[in-house]
Amino acid sequence: MIWIDGVLVSPGDRSLYGERMLRGHRVWDPYRSKFAALAHLGHGVDLPPSLRVLYLGAAHGTTVSHLADYVECVYAVEIAPRPMQDLLSLARQRGNIVAIMGDATRPEEYASLLEPVGLLYMDVASPRQAEIACAHRVFLEEGGPLLMMVKTRSIDATADPDEITRHVIDEISPSYRVKAVVPLEPYHRDHRALLCEGVK
């Protein structure tokens, strides 16, 4: 990952969604992107140029656009039609983004489009996040990490975030081993990032 004077950036020659530019690089704002927040909190994930990424819950494609600056290609899955339109325009500009409109709780509907990836990134607002993670295990290469952004408020609006996180870790344990739990404060409230690796 590229840092310029403590600012996380991605290589890109022009601003895509209004982000600041810094010496010919696009500034990657930790308040807008949980991936960037994770890097600022000391848990950056390596993004080699040969990496392929599967991104569930791509939304408007803010984080996707930065990842695509680094890696070989990003498979971006999103279900909501409105953000999907933004994601499609982004994909038209970037040759290495495959935008898939699909429901992450139903991978069988887009499984025929995906290849194995070296990084699985999840940022879905579904109460069934754990189930989704397990269902996509088959697309993650051996040794590749799963980055799971647990939106505790999407699972249960009233329960304790730590309690929910423990429950999620338990639920994904048949498929993933959790190596670190990172609260994303102060960048994102009530979010926990789980750094996981696939269980063989």
């Binding site: 495959v98 991978p107 009233t158």
Partner: protein
């Protein structure tokens, strides 16, 4: 494990070889939308298989082709989504809500402005409603006040036209809900639920408090009394009911609405027999017999 046939976007792959899917991007997209992978024992494709199958020349060609097809698929889904009647109706309801908010905001500011212009003593003990103050200022409005008043008039005109469209649209898309609670309330419930599918899946207890989010979360967090009604309060049977019966009326109405929403989603036509019984049940709840 035996390697069974895997169906991918570019064709079917078996142990012995690959059968390429024929046709242009549209034909491939069509084929993909009919594919449902068996996730048990699913083996993701490797792009080299697509090349071996003749679907692409190299990695760049593979990605270009795949991107063409996924874009086509997504565009088609987005088009279908916007073509559904409920999407348009929801936009109209939300526009209506915004028009009301905007008109009230402007009227309130106008009232303060007018009071600063005419600080003299006034007769009424309590404040007049902002919209009423606007009416009263019509005679003496000056300068930029005049176009401000006419812009509020314009919003009122837009609102009247939109109410007609929303009511008509609700009658089309939500015939049973509209018969129970009227077009405006039915359309607002639809907007709060997000889609007709979502509305039809809501339990009655959720329908009852739809639109009372703040009160509901206050209840869940601090244990204050739960809300009796949200959007449903706007229905005359609920807000005209005696205070001690409102909860019961709202609960009964919500129970019937949950059925009506399912009828609207899965049948789409009025069910007179159901409506008669539902109306009677709500009436009974209001009387308390």
């Amino acid at each position: 494990m035996k390697y069974s046939m895997q169906r991918y976007w570019f064709g079917d792959v078996t142990e012995s070889g690959c059968t390429r899917a024929e046709g242009d991007a549209a034909a491939l997209a069509q084929r993909i939308s009919t594919l449902t992978a068996a996730m048990e024992g699913f083996v993701p494709l490797r792009w080299e298989q697509a090349v071996a199958c003749g679907a692409a020349g190299d990695r760049a060609g593979y990605l270009a082709r795949l991107r063409e097809i996924t874009s086509l698929l997504a565009e088609r889904k987005i088009r279908d989504w916007y073509a559904r009647g409920d999407t348009l109706l929801i936009q109209k309801v939300r526009m209506l809500e915004d028009l009301d908010r905007a008109a009230n905001l402007v009227a309130e500011r106008f009232q303060e402005w007018d009071r600063a212009l005419h600080p003299g003593p006034r007769d009424e003990l309590r404040d007049t409603a902002p919209r009423q103050a606007l009416e009263q200022a019509r005679g003496h409005a000056e300068g930029a006040q005049i176009p401000v008043i006419s812009s509020v008039d314009g919003l009122a005109l837009a609102r009247a036209a939109l109410v007609q469209e929303v009511s008509a649209g609700a009658g089309d898309i939500l015939p049973n809900c509209t018969a129970l609670v009227g077009g405006l309330v039915a359309a607002r419930l639809l907007s709060a639920a997000g889609s007709l599918d979502a509305l039809a899946r809501l339990p009655a207890a959720s329908l009852q408090v739809l639109g009372a989010r703040a009160a509901l979360f206050a209840h869940l967090r601090t244990g204050s009394p739960p809300p009796k009604h949200g959007i449903l309060y706007q229905h005359h049977r609920v807000h005209n009911a005696p205070r001690n019966r409102r909860g019961k009326v709202a609960r009964t109405l919500a129970a019937r609405l949950a059925i009506a929403a399912r009828l609207d989603r899965y049948r789409g036509t009025r069910d007179e027999e159901f409506l008669k019984q539902a109306d009677e049940a709500v009436r009974r709840a209001g009387r308390g017999t």
